[in-house]
Amino acid sequence: MSDSPQHRLFLERRSYQQRRLVDALRLLPILGLLLWLVPLIWARADDVVPAVSVVSASVFIFAVWVVLIVLGAFMSSRASFGDDPEAQDAAGDARNKGSTWNS
């Protein structure tokens, strides 16, 4: 069974990169969350230091938004799930029973 497709240990370059792309896709919302939690440490109106202005706050929040959308669009269009059977394998993370990171 060691050479059957589900348990293949090493992949050719294309499938390998497809899997990494999916990894990146998974990480994207985590990146977004971290960036959008940055406002938690901003100085507020009732703090001693001057508060962050609404313009800078908006610019930050919307800039993060645009970057996330662009990254998401780029990666979603590059990832070819469903089209090629090997990438589909990567997609079928359940095949890896529990560990989705062992590719």
């Binding site: 999916v22 959008w36 507020r44 313009v55 996330l68 269009s77």
Partner: protein
């Protein structure tokens, strides 16, 4: 008045246009020619029902009250969609595989098709959705009121209640018309979806138009706008960290759990590939929707008198500037947001109500299943239509009773917290196989109870349900039970307070009870299928071989699916089973697929109950589960065996192919040899004959000539003899009749003998270098004459065939594990790879023969070496032709060779 009439006219025209769009989309879908109806863009736009009238108008009001905090409502869904690979993708796959009709159906189906759970989720959805629909009615009514006020009519001719009633009635009609046209929820509501997509474009366009007007029309560009923002009352960041993170989480949870969102995301969206586009396009939509909210809020604060309702700034700012067209556009945007939400929400909730409350009751009261005749579809559709009307009218009464106003405006987030109570059961259900029905029930109950007690009931206002004193001091004076300060934790924002406690207790109860209880077999089966949905293409069967009558099933299926579709389904199953005719055998696979089809119409729990009635309740048992597991394990084992076998077969086939190739090559060579050997025999025979004729016939020959001719005859005879000797030798060797004469000799001596013999018999010069190493002094105990014969053969081959300008042969000797290894490497051009297999065969010769051997030498050598317990073979990669001879220095079993 004129303006109001114009507004009413435009609204009616807009509504008629929506009806037409929905109608033509339905028609196009029925004809099957409209692929664009199912494009990812339509899917993305249909998701925009997340932005309701509350968000269209209310976001600006939210921003005026709390600054940038409003944006969290959009950030949560953005993260969920960008992270579609984690959750949404799985939900869509499960929805498609299991024909899920609603979020209640998902929960019920996952936890053993439990109708109790479905009823719980349905009630929660109704309670959470009704105020939300009321909120939409309020936003439409308020915006009408603004126009009525602006046109100087006052509130006399404008009656909020009447407006709300007609809006509600119109929406109910639209929803009934296009939302309950067909029964199978998985057959998408193309008309509805299309209308919603159009409305999505309208509301985005309207909001951006107002935003552009505000930034460039009033403020005069981006720079001045920013200056105004920094000068306004919203200038400073003033969002509490708890609410910032909490609302982001809440909106993300609500995005997944709101019945209407689940409906467009999972039930209507049957193609996972659409997610690829929606994953970034929907966040982009949300971003655009919130881009101008702060500018509009700031401008509204600047240009409108103090005390103006900030919730209506989107409408009142253009009106105050005399931009009536823009205001009407903005009104249409608000109307779109409100109507699309009401339509989808009422479809989603009515589906739950009819599938999980009306149908079970109907089945129970009429004795259900197969015994009753009549079209069940009619019952289901009627139930759904009545549910839609009831939900919308309930919302209307809620609106009338609550009187509209601030209390209602706050209900948006309250409703979010309510539906978010489904989240632990949903995520636990799709990621954790250990989640049980009782766990889900416990979690839902705990969470909902906390929500009702600490948020929903208090949201009606002080002294409506709970008295102000009780809110302060807690029930019966027990302070740690005060609704807004559970367990003595005071000072928290009520939303955050409820979210925290309900989520903690909900998840806690869900996990602990799941860990402590044991699931039923059906739960385990469904759990495995949901969690491993990407693994299982088809499902394991939930039914076992039964006494069910296909006829009864047919009767039932016809009444739910309609005769044509039911017959098609049965026929498909029959042909899959290989049974002629319309009636398939009621095997487990067929029963499961039938149940799935029914589930698409009436929900998993009802479908399961109906099939169960006919099949006789013979559902799965633990033994069946184990059998299924065994079966699949056996199949996996079997398939791995098959795989191994097939690789072996492949290997054998490859060997056979090579053998065949060799045989074909040999046959060609044999033919070539036959002509060659005839030639070889004929040439000496011809010269012998002619010279002997000369000797016989000529009398006047000189003695010298006679001697010469006789010499030629003699040498030709020798050549013939040698050829025949070789053939004989080979035959003897091959038949194993050879006798070996074991003698003792130094290896170096054997090689020297061979060299001397080769040098003596040839005129060509071949430089032979011997590299004895340490092994040259080995004492051999073998048939040294035969060994020398092999060496001579190899050396003379080098002499004959080496095509280098200065031919050279190197003989290297090595000793390893009791075996001598002698390499013969020349500096010629080597032997082509395809010939290496053949040269050891009899009669084989490489290329044109300038030296005229018969091609037996190597064949004899190999036979000899085999007799000596060794081998001779071609050694590739040495730069020239190279052969290796290896043999044991002591031939231990001479008897075997004999």
């Amino acid at each position: 008045m004129e303006q109001l009439n114009l507004l009413i006219g435009v609204s009616l025209a807009y509504v008629v246009a929506l009806f037409l769009i929905a109608f033509s989309a339905e028609r196009a879908a029925r004809k099957g020619g409209a692929r664009w109806l199912r494009s990812p863009w339509v899917y993305t736009l249909s998701l925009s029902i997340y932005c309701t009238g509350w968000t269209f108008y209310g976001a600006v009001g939210f921003a005026v009250r709390s600054g940038l905090e409003f944006v969290t409502i959009y950030l949560g869904p953005t993260l969920v969609m960008l992270g579609w690979w984690w959750i949404v993708r799985k939900l869509v796959r499960i929805g498609r595989n299991h024909r899920i009709t609603s979020i209640a159906d998902l929960i019920s189906s996952r936890f053993g098709k439990s109708n109790l759970l479905a009823i719980g989720v349905t009630i929660l959805a109704v309670v959470g959705t009704t105020p939300y629909i009321a909120l939409q009615l309020q936003s439409v009514t308020l915006s009408f009121g603004i126009f009525a006020g602006a046109s100087g009519e006052g509130t006399g001719s404008f009656h909020a209640g009447t407006t709300a009633f007609w809006v509600a009635a119109g929406l109910a009609l639209f929803t009934v018309l296009f939302g309950t046209r067909n029964l199978d929820v998985n057959e998408r509501h193309d008309g509805v979806v299309m209308a919603i997509a159009v409305e999505a474009v309208v509301k985005l366009f309207a909001l951006i138009a107002v935003g552009v007007f505000v930034v460039w029309g009033i403020a005069g560009g981006i720079g001045p706008m920013m200056a105004q923002m920094n000068a306004s009352g919203l200038a400073e960041w003033n969002v509490s960290g708890g609410r910032w993170a909490g609302l982001m989480f809440l909106s993300a949870a609500a995005f997944l759990c709101l019945p209407r969102m689940f409906h467009v995301l999972v039930v209507e969206g049957d193609d996972e590939r659409h997610l690829r586009t929606a994953s970034w396009a929907f966040p982009a939509y949300l971003m655009l929707m919130s881009l101008f909210v702060i500018p509009i809020a700031v401008t509204g604060l600047n240009v409108l008198p103090a005390g103006a309702n900030p919730d209506m700034f989107v409408l009142t700012v253009p009106l105050s500037q005399g931009q009536d067209t823009l205001a009407i556009l903005s009104f249409l945007g608000g109307l779109s947001s409100a109507t699309s939400m009401v339509i989808v929400a009422s479809i989603a909730v009515s589906t739950m109500v009819s599938n999980h409350i009306v149908m079970p009751v109907w089945i129970a009261t009429t004795g259900g299943g197969a015994s009753v005749s009549g079209d069940v579809r009619y019952v289901v559709l009627l139930a759904r239509r009545i549910s839609i009307a009831a939900v919308v009218m309930l919302a209307y009464f809620y609106f009338r009773l609550s009187g509209g106003g601030a209390a209602l405006a706050a209900i948006g987030l309250v409703s979010f917290v309510g539906v978010a109570q489904v989240l632990p059961a949903m995520l636990g259900g799709i990621f954790w196989r250990g989640a049980t029905r009782l766990g889900a029930l416990a979690g839902l109950t705990a969470g909902s109870a906390i929500w009702v007690y600490t948020l929903f009931l208090p949201s009606f206002g002080s002294d409506v349900v709970f008295s102000g004193a009780m809110m302060q001091a807690g029930p019966l004076g027990i302070s740690w039970l005060a609704p807004h300060a559970l367990f003595g934790i005071t000072g928290l924002d009520p939303i955050l307070h409820c979210l925290l406690w309900s989520m903690v207790l909900n998840t806690g109860a869900f996990c602990i009870v799941s860990l402590l209880t044991f699931p039923t077999p059906l739960e385990r089966l469904q759990g495995a299928q949901f969690v491993n949905v990407f693994e299982h293409g088809a499902s394991a069967s939930g039914w076992q071989g039964s006494a069910a009558q296909s006829e009864d099933l047919m009767v039932m299926a016809q009444r739910i699916l309609g005769p044509r579709e039911a017959q098609a389904l049965f026929q498909r199953a029959a042909s899959q089973q290989g049974v002629a005719g319309l009636m398939p055998l009621p095997d487990p696979a067929f029963l499961t697929s039938l149940e799935r089809a029914l589930a698409g119409s009436v929900g998993a729990a009802t479908a399961h109950a109906m099939v169960g009635q006919i099949v006789g309740g013979a559902s799965v048992s633990v033994d069946d589960l184990m059998a299924v597991a065994d079966e699949s394990a056996q199949m996996m084992e079997y398939s791995s065996k098959l795989e191994a076998q097939s690789t072996e077969l492949q290997r054998t086939a490859e060997q056979l192919r090579r053998a065949n190739e060799k045989l074909t090559q040999l046959s060609v060579q044999k033919d070539a040899f036959l002509s060659q050997i005839s030639h070889e025999l004929r040439t000496p025979m011809t010269s012998i004959r002619s010279f002997s004729e000369i000797l016989r016939d000529s009398t006047s020959l000189e003695a010298e000539a006679k001697a010469k001719y006789a010499g030629i005859i003699h040498s030709e005879t020798l050549r013939l003899t040698r050829l025949l000797d070789d053939l004989l030798d080979l035959a003897v060797l091959e038949e194993g009749r050879v006798t070996l004469n074991i003698s003792q000799a130094l290896l170096a001596d054997v090689i020297d003998t061979a060299i001397t013999s080769v040098r003596g018999s040839a005129d060509q010069s071949l430089a032979i270098k011997v590299d004895h190493g340490a092994a040259g002094e080995l004492m051999l105990s073998t048939d040294t004459d035969r060994l020398a014969q092999v060496f001579i053969n190899l050396m003379s081959n080098a002499q004959k065939y080496c095509d280098a300008d200065v031919p050279q042969l190197i003989v290297r000797v090595r000793f390893e594990d009791g075996r001598a290894i002698v390499d013969f490497v020349d500096n010629g051009s080597g032997i082509a790879p395809d010939m290496r297999d053949v040269i050891f065969e009899k009669f084989a010769r490489v290329g044109e023969t300038k030296a005229g051997g018969a091609g037996l030498g190597l064949a004899i050598s190999r036979e000899v070496m085999h007799r000596l317990g060794g081998d001779v073979y071609y050694l590739p990669g040495q730069g020239g032709t190279a052969f290796r001879v290896e043999f044991p220095i002591k031939l231990t079993t001479p008897s075997e060779a004999a």
